[in-house]
């Protein structure tokens, strides 16, 4: 049996989570303070996933760029590919928080959404 110590990245509490494994099978997850910690630890041992946050170009807004976030975690190993998709996009103001900017990013099932509202510039 192998034991792995992970730091949960879901929130700034950063729980130290211990995962016991038998080969590829997870036997137990301990040390997490919420269910998200267990889900994180299970994925982390198979294919790590992360939320991606970035910005996209925006035309006619109060700023030059609009912050965006994935609606759920995407595999860590597609981050750079995902960034290429994000870089291609340009949106027009106004935008509301939660507006879908890219749907089903790289077939991951996650959308890229606006993480703030931005009015059109006067």
């Amino acid at each position: 049996m192998t034991e792995k110590e992970l730091i949960c990245v879901n929130c700034p509490i950063g729980c130290t989570v211990t995962v016991k494994m038998e080969g590829d099978e997870i036997i137990s997850v301990t040390g997490n303070t919420c269910p998200k910690g267990e889900a994180y630890a299970r994925k982390e041992c198979i294919r790590p996933e992360r939320i991606l946050t970035s910005t996209v170009k925006i035309e006619g807004g109060t700023h030059r760029v609009l912050p965006v976030i994935t609606s759920e975690e995407i595999p860590l190993d597609v981050m750079f590919e995902a960034m290429e998709e994000v870089r291609k996009v340009s949106v027009k103001a106004p935008v509301s928080e939660g507006d879908v900017i890219i749907s089903n990013l790289l077939g991951t099932g996650a959308d890229v959404v606006a993480s703030r509202s931005m009015a059109a510039a006067d």
Binding site: I7, C8, R50, T53, K57, M83
Partner: protein
């Protein structure tokens, strides 16, 4: 002179939460003075996720977290003056501000809430030898350029200091196509949160050099190279340990300092450890009717705690206004709350046992990483509470709660210490 029930200086996470709390307490005649063109403060450039898990039970980006509070403030009809810089504050609660519409204006208030935030320690504060060429930025400055203005500050980057903003910028710039060569930390442990070590450095294979510092910069008009050296136990460079990195950008993530020139103007007592004002359990400073919260009080790692403390400050200001109106005096007796062994500071630093109005949360940090310890709270020399902890680190703010009854029964000073488990 225009008079307000409360003038809140700063429209970031602390100022917004304090304003919302005041309105909910029925204090209506209030105004927020915000120097930027929009409310939200530093959260607007913190586009990464991880905000709000405690406040909203959701993982939000910084701008999304701010937007929730901006909406609450709007719905409650909070007046926010944008592009407005507070430039003066007196002990008698007169606030001078400037903005392009009104010019230079002085207003008076029953209460003032300082929610002024903090600033980054600049290059000059750490004395790196070398020419003043372009390419050296504080991490937060680079973050603003990238996330708000859409400019990348460089392509080959080295980061000094393992503070959270530096770690987050290491990941952000890597994703944007820059090569981040490494992060150096003077101390033998990281000053950032463990989750950021994991997801910002380890995920991208960015090396962390503990007990190292940048000793020299080289370049003519733009940075070309830095010198990195190992440091000994006294944080002095070890001769012969020089390493060189070719880079066009050096980001500094070497600490945050509460912005307190207004508090100094008003002659408010400061805590040398937090570098912010000394406050009581209502978040009132040594100047009557002037309150403080947020990063201008002490530097936080969780915005959720900022909102919580700012809400207490808003409630404290509301109680103060009501007590004035009704002519009821706050309890005179005060006991101080002091850091003991292994603790660098406590906030609040004063409580009023005779007018205890509810449970009080105390926030503190340990001085160095510790394993298998107990947080011991003593009041008048007697142990009130002991809490066992497996691990404590300076980068994580700790919180302990004392109930209203315990506060009311306090007979002497409270000391919070962290000790080996008995």
């Amino acid at each position: 002179m225009r008079h307000y029930e409360s003038v809140i200086i700063g429209g970031g996470s602390a100022g917004l939460a304090a304003a919302v709390a005041l309105k909910k307490q029925g204090i209506g005649d209030i105004v927020i003075l915000e120097k930027d063109g929009e409310p939200g403060g530093i959260l607007e450039q913190c586009i990464h996720n991880g905000f709000g898990l405690q406040t909203f039970k959701e993982q939000l980006s910084g701008p999304a977290y701010a937007e929730r509070f901006i909406r609450m403030a709007e719905e409650l009809g909070v007046e926010i003056k944008l592009n407005t810089m507070a430039v003066g504050l007196t002990r008698g609660r007169e606030v001078e501000y400037v903005n392009p519409e009104e010019g230079d204006v002085t207003v008076s208030a029953d209460t003032v809430i300082l929610a002024v935030g903090c600033y980054e320690r600049p290059r000059g504060a750490i004395g790196i030898h070398g020419p003043r060429c372009a390419g050296v930025y504080t991490a937060g400055q680079a973050q603003k350029y990238l996330n708000i203005d859409g400019y990348m500050v460089g392509k080959r980057v080295f980061i000094l200091g393992s503070g959270d903003i530096g770690l987050i910028m290491a990941r952000r710039m890597t994703l944007e196509g820059a090569k981040v060569l490494g992060v150096a930390e003077l101390m033998p442990y990281s000053s950032g949160l463990p989750r950021n070590m994991k997801q910002c450095l380890e995920d991208f294979g960015i090396p962390l050099y503990l007990s190292h510092t940048v000793t020299k910069t080289f370049g003519k008009s733009r940075l070309e190279k830095i010198e990195l050296m190992e440091v000994d136990d006294n944080r002095q460079p070890v001769p012969g340990s020089e390493m060189y990195f070719d880079c066009d950008t050096l980001l500094l993530s070497v600490g945050l300092i509460p912005e307190n020139h207004l508090a100094d103007d008003a002659g408010i007592e400061m805590d040398p450890s937090t570098k912010g004002p000394v406050v009581d359990d209502s978040y009132m400073t040594s100047a009557e009717g002037i309150f403080a919260c947020g990063n201008g009080l002490h530097v936080h790692d969780l915005v959720d705690f900022v909102s919580l403390q700012a809400e207490r400050a808003g409630e404290g200001a509301a109680r103060y206004i009501r007590a004035k109106r009704e002519g009821t005096e706050a309890g005179e007796r005060r006991v101080s709350v002091r850091p003991g062994e292994n603790v660098s500071y406590t906030v609040p630093a004063l409580v009023h046992p005779d007018s205890a109005w509810g449970n009080v949360e105390f926030f503190f940090r340990v001085k160095a990483p510790l394993d298998t310890v107990s947080v011991v709270i003593r009041g008048g020399g007697r142990v009130i509470r002991t809490i066992k902890k497996r691990k404590m680190i300076p980068s994580e703010m700790e919180r302990v709660v004392l109930t209203k009854d315990v506060i009311a029964g306090l007979s002497g000073d409270v000391v919070i210490s962290v000790e080996p488990q008995a």
